[in-house]
């Protein structure tokens, strides 16, 4: 008996990698009539080392920042061939390739209204090149380019509100998701694929190596991120909030203390206060507390 997944085993992801959990959920939900365009990053490198590929769907990698643009070309070609109705186009990449170097191409794709689903695997740093800080790295995180020291707390900037930026483009579907809730990921991908036009899903994917936690803790860590309010799970259709994951909020320390990348904050009450403020802000903004 073999798992009929479209993203096969034998790839070289770290044990417990959150990104490949999400990548499999996405492609299995989208189905085999899908063309995938991938940015450079962990996912591309670990799944397509010549002569082995984990993908059983048509898949192309071009450069770090242009998946959204290459996908635009794929989509245009399919329209020209009269085949777009039958074939899904997914452009995907990490937070680096999406929020930073790839933001221009993403914005262009959204603005032009291409019928493409963009998936951002958010592990909150440039993990593939060695855990450097990205625009989606949360406040005070320890990364190799924002290390804490006597003169610094770590990453001094807050997380770039990428879902809001994408939402501002006025596209039909924007959602966040997490590998803590795998069926929710698949439901959102299926929903997105059924809508015509540009779609965006940002999936929170813990990285055991970069976040410094045990491989078997990936799902639990992702759950804590959601249940402290630090990673709102929200869903917008045509600009209106249609769903949000509600919970009974836990204090942010419960999330921070189980990851090596936040260890340096546990003795810093001011940093903890700031992070709690960020979490409380999210909870209030989206009404995430059960009963609100």
């Amino acid at each position: 008996m073999e798992n009929k997944t479209l993203f096969k085993a034998g790839h070289t992801a770290c044990a417990g990698c959150g990104q490949v959990i999400a990548a499999r959920l996405v492609i299995d939900a989208a189905g085999s009539n899908t063309i995938v365009v991938n940015n450079t990053g962990c996912l591309e490198v670990l799944s397509t080392r010549y002569p082995e590929s984990a993908w059983s769907v048509p898949w192309i990698h071009s450069l770090f920042e242009n998946a959204a643009a290459v996908a635009s070309g794929v989509e245009a070609a399919l329209i020209y061939l009269g085949k777009k109705e039958a074939i899904n186009v997914i452009a995907q990449g990490g937070d680096g390739g999406t929020a930073d170097i790839g933001l221009q191409a993403l914005s262009g794709m959204l603005e032009r209204g291409h019928d493409i689903l963009y998936v951002c695997y958010d592990n909150e740093a440039y993990e593939n090149t060695g855990i450097q800080r990205s625009g989606l790295t949360p406040y005070a995180t320890n990364t190799t380019t924002t290390p804490p020291g006597t003169k610094s707390i770590g990453n001094i900037r807050p997380k770039k509100p990428l879902p809001e930026i994408v939402l501002a483009h006025g596209i039909p579907y924007v959602a966040t998701a997490s590998v803590a809730f795998v069926q929710d990921v698949q439901r959102k991908v299926e929903k997105a694929i059924s809508i015509k036009g540009p779609k965006y899903i940002q999936i929170h994917v813990p990285c055991p190596l970069g976040w410094r936690h045990e491989p078997n803790f990936t799902v639990e860590v992702a759950k804590l991120a959601v249940e402290t309010g630090l990673y709102p799970i929200i869903e917008y259709e045509n600009g209106a909030l249609i769903s949000r994951r509600q919970f009974t909020p836990k204090p942010v320390e419960e999330y921070l203390k189980v990851q090596g990348r936040f260890k340096h904050l546990l003795s810093n009450p001011e940093a903890l206060k700031e992070i709690q403020r960020i979490a409380d802000n999210n909870i209030q903004k989206y009404g995430l507390k059960v009963g609100s």
């Binding site: 397509t48 071009s62 635009s72 020209y80 074939i87 221009q104 262009g108």
Partner: protein, 395 residues
């Protein structure tokens, strides 16, 4: 059909005849008219193509990459800053062995910013694995686009083609040009048949990671393929002559009165038209002068150059670009053609002219012919203004 039109319009007409399914470009002077004309053709329903208005040249090249990877013929055009901005994608397209035709409206590179013609932009990408063909006039521009698709999509080649035309001089110059008939072009250029493409019916992985055990062979393969390109260009030109009546001989170089010449200038692009006029004038006075026009800069036709110039005592190479810190880019290739060979010109001088759109006049060319009686010149700038230069900085 013969028409009197702007070079950019001629490009658009040529591209329309080649029926690309996806066009994507970002505006940059002096390429703008090309894509504007194509946009109008698409809007009028004259050209059935998806016209993708992108937010940068990097994305324009990425869009056409994606389109060709999906099995659809595509087109883009750019200049100068745009070409250099999309450089990363151009290396990528060649490495992926995707056929494509790109029009480069040659323009100088910033800084300082300058929108006028020289060939620095395309020359700076000579290592990218693209076939580079340089046009002297707008008829050649039209014909090189049609031949370009044919060459690029040949199953033994599968390398992208850059058709280089001097910005403003050719793009905005009005010339009488023969625009071929659609049925003749259809016969000459069959529909694009990809070797591989993105298709759920036959999935595959493109753009993989190749570690040190696998990378070098991909480059060797392209290097070897350029040898095939050198053999295929003359064949395609011969077929073109048969179908359309215009004769470019081998399509790699043009020998203009080089036989028995005592002095020959080597050059690329529209300046060759100017040089031909001077050659005609001097020949009428009994001077044995000539021009060797280089059409294919990549692959470089070393053998053809050797054969054409081995008995010419004095050669001058006219570059419209510089390789700052070294000898000029066309001159080094010409010199390399004679390296280790028995015969060689006595003198191969190198001149740089026309940078940033400075006019190369008939007088300038005559000056070069005069300078060729002297000792070999390693690199000299023509028509330089010394009053603009000072040894030390200060206003």
């Amino acid at each position: 059909m013969r028409e009197f039109l702007e070079g950019s319009r001629a490009v658009a007409e040529a591209v329309k005849l080649c029926k690309p399914g996806v066009i994507s470009a970002y505006p940059i002077t002096p390429q703008t008219h090309i894509v504007e004309e194509l946009a109008q053709m698409v809007a009028n329903g004259e050209l059935n193509a998806q016209f993708v208005n992108v937010e940068s040249e990097h994305s324009a090249a990425s869009v056409v990459l994606g389109a060709v990877a999906t099995g659809v013929r595509a087109f883009t055009a750019t200049s100068s800053q745009g070409l250099i901005y999309m450089a990363e994608v151009l290396f990528n397209i060649a490495g992926l062995r995707l056929p494509l035709v790109l029009t480069c409206a040659n323009r100088a590179l910033s800084a300082p910013i300058n929108i006028w013609n020289d060939q620095q932009d395309s020359i700076s990408l000579r290592d990218a694995g693209w076939i580079q063909l340089y046009a002297e006039n707008n008829q050649e521009v039209v014909d090189l686009h049609i031949m370009g698709y044919r060459l690029s999509e040949d199953k033994s080649i599968m390398l992208p083609v850059m058709v280089c035309m001097d910005g403003f001089i050719l793009t905005h110059g009005m010339e009488s040009v023969d625009i071929p008939e659609q049925d003749k072009v259809d016969k000459f250029l069959p529909p694009y048949q990809p070797l591989y493409k993105l298709d759920p019916a036959e999935p595959l992985t493109m753009g993989m990671l190749a570690d040190p055990d696998y990378y070098m062979e991909t480059r060797f393969a392209i290097q070897e393929t350029f040898k095939d390109v050198l053999k295929l260009i003359p064949k395609i030109n011969e077929e073109f002559r048969g179908q359309f009546g215009r004769d470019y001989k081998d399509g790699l170089v043009e020998e203009y009165y080089t036989k028995g010449a005592e002095k020959v200038i080597v050059a690329m692009g529209s300046v060759c038209g100017t040089i031909k006029e001077v050659v005609d004038e001097l020949r009428a006075k009994g001077k044995k002068v000539g021009l060797l026009k280089i059409i294919s800069y990549r692959p470089f036709p070393y053998t053809k150059v050797y054969e054409a110039l081995k008995d010419v005592p004095r050669v001058a190479v006219l570059d419209k670009a510089v390789s700052l810190g070294a000898y000029a880019p066309l001159a080094v290739e010409i010199k390399a053609a004679f390296s280790g060979k028995k015969k060689s010109p006595k003198v191969i001088s190198s001149f740089v002219a026309g940078l940033g759109g400075r006019d190369i006049t008939l007088e300038s060319i005559k000056e070069i012919f005069k300078k060729m009686t002297q000792k070999e010149v390693n690199l000299e700038f023509i028509d330089l203004k010394p009053e603009l230069l000072k040894e030390e900085y200060g206003e």
